[in-house]
């Protein structure tokens, strides 16, 4: 009997494997282009001779960014207004995500132009070969050599792909993977400066250790939230936050750890300790890329997590984030006053700006969302151009970032001093710049959501921060230039294009912000 039944079993058809439909890709083509081009870039590194790599990589990277931008634009023209879920529900391609993708692509175009530039520093801002030990004969030779470590181009594209996934991630696991995909290339890129390599390597170690520490917290938060709701989908967490038989400790401990990880990436408040060191030590084009794009991606993630997953519990956590925003603004404004290095000063300014952005992010209204998105766009372009200008002021040992070296810069180069003044005014939030409009919409949304005391603190902090921007302007215009002062390099086409892009957008968004505000207000997160 048993023999017969087993023969019958064998004779039966094996059960058909479950049919898995390939997901439609039209919403995610920009990400696929960016990540695909990054893989092709890795192959270029493997198979092209050294002297051909730079032109191939530059062309490939710029083509990838342009192609992704075109595909994004064609998708937006007939995208569903409420957004859609892509890749089996792991990505939510909704209006905020599309806005952030466009912002990220445009910002990284500027950053890639600065990375590719070989006119400001002969051979580029990157080391010829990262394996050379600093301080050796080979190291002195590579400073004068013209080659550069062209792996930075694929690394940039990988980081950009991670950022794009990060701000569209609809579940926490995707968000964690995207966080690592965006962070790991950045750790490496920080350590690749051509000059001052000890500082650069030190920045990479610090960023890596602290970043890994923070992503462990992020991950533990995910694990606790999984325990709370049985799923890592943001919508499921939101649903079970309304009522679950599990202890609320899991929810709030998980959320706290998760948000700590996010705030670290966005360099907010007390989690900013890596920011000044890494901004100072990293090659300036990489600093520009980090300061602009990482901020956009991190706040994209914060907005989505707070608005989609934790909106219903906001009475419990909002007070804490009030405190964090205040701490961030105060730290940025006060410590920025004491800085003597331009790059560190802008780093503390970015901490203060992260506080302003957090004010907009915890206003859980549509206006808060669109205001924060606009602020990210405006701040990204301003800070990109700021670092572009910083890379131009140089002396024989590289960039002259000490503030005393900037004294009397307006007499040496009125144009560069004028552009830098404009950018600092935009960072300070003076009218007719994008910084003013950004602060205005964010603070307006915060007041409308009942956070007037927080806005008062923010206004005081921006007044204090305005002081240290003005101090640099006074230094450039009303001081005598130092005898052994730095020279201002005339940039080549790439850096000029990047700075012009940043300055034009800063000016345009300051004078005629309506169209960008309309884009930012185009829709809300798809909550499903």
């Amino acid at each position: 009997m048993s023999v017969i039944s087993s023969v019958l079993l064998l004779a039966q058809e094996p059960p058909a494997p479950p049919k898995v439909e390939a997901p439609p890709l039209d919403a995610v083509w920009p990400i696929l282009i960016v990540l695909g081009a990054a893989c092709v870039g890795v192959l270029f590194e493997a198979f092209l001779p050294r002297h051909q790599r730079w032109p191939f990589q530059v062309v490939l990277t710029l083509l990838a960014l342009a192609g992704a931008g075109v595909l994004l634009a064609t998708y937006i023209s007939d995208a569903p207004a409420a957004g859609e879920l892509a890749m089996y529900g792991t990505l939510a391609v909704d209006r905020p995500a599309l806005f952030l993708w466009g912002t990220l692509l445009a910002l990284s175009l500027g950053a890639v132009l600065m990375i590719a530039d070989r006119s400001v520093e002969p051979g580029g801002a990157f080391v010829a070969s990262a394996a050379i030990r600093p301080g050796t004969v080979q190291d002195r030779a590579q400073v004068a050599a013209t080659g550069m470590q062209t792996e930075v181009f694929p690394l940039t594209l990988f980081a950009l792909g991670g950022m794009m996934i990060f701000c569209a991630a609809n579940d926490l696991l995707t968000m964690f993977i995207a966080l690592e995909v965006l962070s790991l290339p950045l750790y490496l890129m920080c350590g690749l400066a051509r000059r001052r390599r000890l500082l650069s390597q030190e920045a990479a170690v610090k960023y890596f250790l602290l970043g890994a520490f923070a992503s462990a917290f992020f991950l533990y938060g995910i694990a606790l939230l999984y325990g709370y709701s049985g799923s890592v989908q943001l919508a499921d967490i939101a649903a079970s936050a309304g009522g679950s038989d599990r202890s609320d400790t899991l929810l709030f401990a998980g959320m706290g750890l998760l948000v700590v990880g996010l705030l670290f990436k966005a360099s907010v408040g007390p989690f900013h300790t890596w920011t000044p060191d890494v901004y100072q030590g990293a090659p300036t084009p990489v600093t520009a890329f980090m300061a602009a794009c990482t901020k956009v991606a991190a706040f994209g993630g914060i907005l989505r997590v707070l608005q989609v997953a934790f909106e219903s519990t906001n009475w419990e956590w909002r007070g804490v984030l009030w405190g964090v925003a205040i701490v961030s603004m105060v730290i940025g404004a006060i410590l920025g006053l004491t800085q003597t290095d331009v790059k560190r000063m802008i780093a503390y300014s970015s901490v203060a700006h992260a506080g302003f952005l957090l004010v907009g992010s915890i206003a859980l209204t549509d206006k808060g969302l669109s205001g924060t998105l606009f602020y990210l766009l405006a701040y990204g372009f301003t800070t990109l151009a700021t670092f572009g200008v910083i890379s131009l002021v140089r002396d024989s040992s590289g960039e002259a970032t000490h503030l005393s070296q900037w004294a009397g810069l307006a007499k040496r180069s009125p144009l560069v001093a004028g552009v830098f003044t404009f950018l600092l005014l935009a960072l300070a939030g003076i009218p007719l710049t994008s910084g003013f409009v950004g602060k205005f919409v964010v603070f307006e949304a915060a007041i409308a959501d009942g956070m007037a005391p927080l806005v008062v603190v923010a206004l005081v902090a921006s007044a204090v921060a305005a002081f240290f921007y003005l101090r640099v302007i006074v230094l450039m215009y009303f001081s005598e230039p130092a005898a052994e002062g730095p020279t201002v390099t005339v940039p080549g086409a790439f850096t000029t294009a990047a700075i012009t892009l940043g300055v034009l957008v800063t000016l345009l968004l300051g004078i005629a912000p309506a169209f960008a505000l309309d884009w930012a207000a185009g829709g809300v997160f798809a909550i499903r």
Binding site: A130, A131, R133, P134, G135, L173, F176, I177, E180, L184, Y187, L188, G191, R197, L198, L199, Q201, E202, A203, A204, V205, K206, F208, L209, A212, F213, A216, L219, Y220, I222, A223, L224, Y226, G227, G230, S231, V232, P276, D277, Q280, G281, T338, Q339, T340, R344
Partner: protein, 99 residues
């Protein structure tokens, strides 16, 4: 065996890792402490998968392992480069960037 013991154990391991990151001096040891934290998270994920009766926690543990491996590659490369320069991996000696 109640699964909550495993949660306590993983919380303990995570805390040990976090304290280790804060107090240890050698970059390699700091990094190992981060790995301990990640593995503590894996234990939490697997335990919750058991409690919830779903498999996704176990699958996530695999993702975490892969990410941790990638992080090791990048991290050791960075720590190696600074060790070759300075002949030490102490995080206290890396003090050029301050104020």
């Amino acid at each position: 065996m109640t699964p909550s013991y495993y949660l306590l154990l993983s919380a303990l391991l995570f805390t040990i890792g976090a304290v280790g990151v804060l107090v240890r001096r050698n970059a390699i040891v700091v990094f190992m402490c981060v790995e301990l934290m990640l593995n503590a998270v894996n234990l939490t994920l697997v335990t919750f998968a058991r409690i919830n009766g779903t498999l996704s926690g176990q699958v996530m543990a695999f993702f975490v392992m892969v990410v941790a491996a990638a992080e090791v590659v990048v991290g050791l490369a960075i720590i190696m480069s600074i060790f070759r320069t300075r002949r030490t991996a102490s995080v206290d000696d890396a003090n050029l960037l301050k104020y």
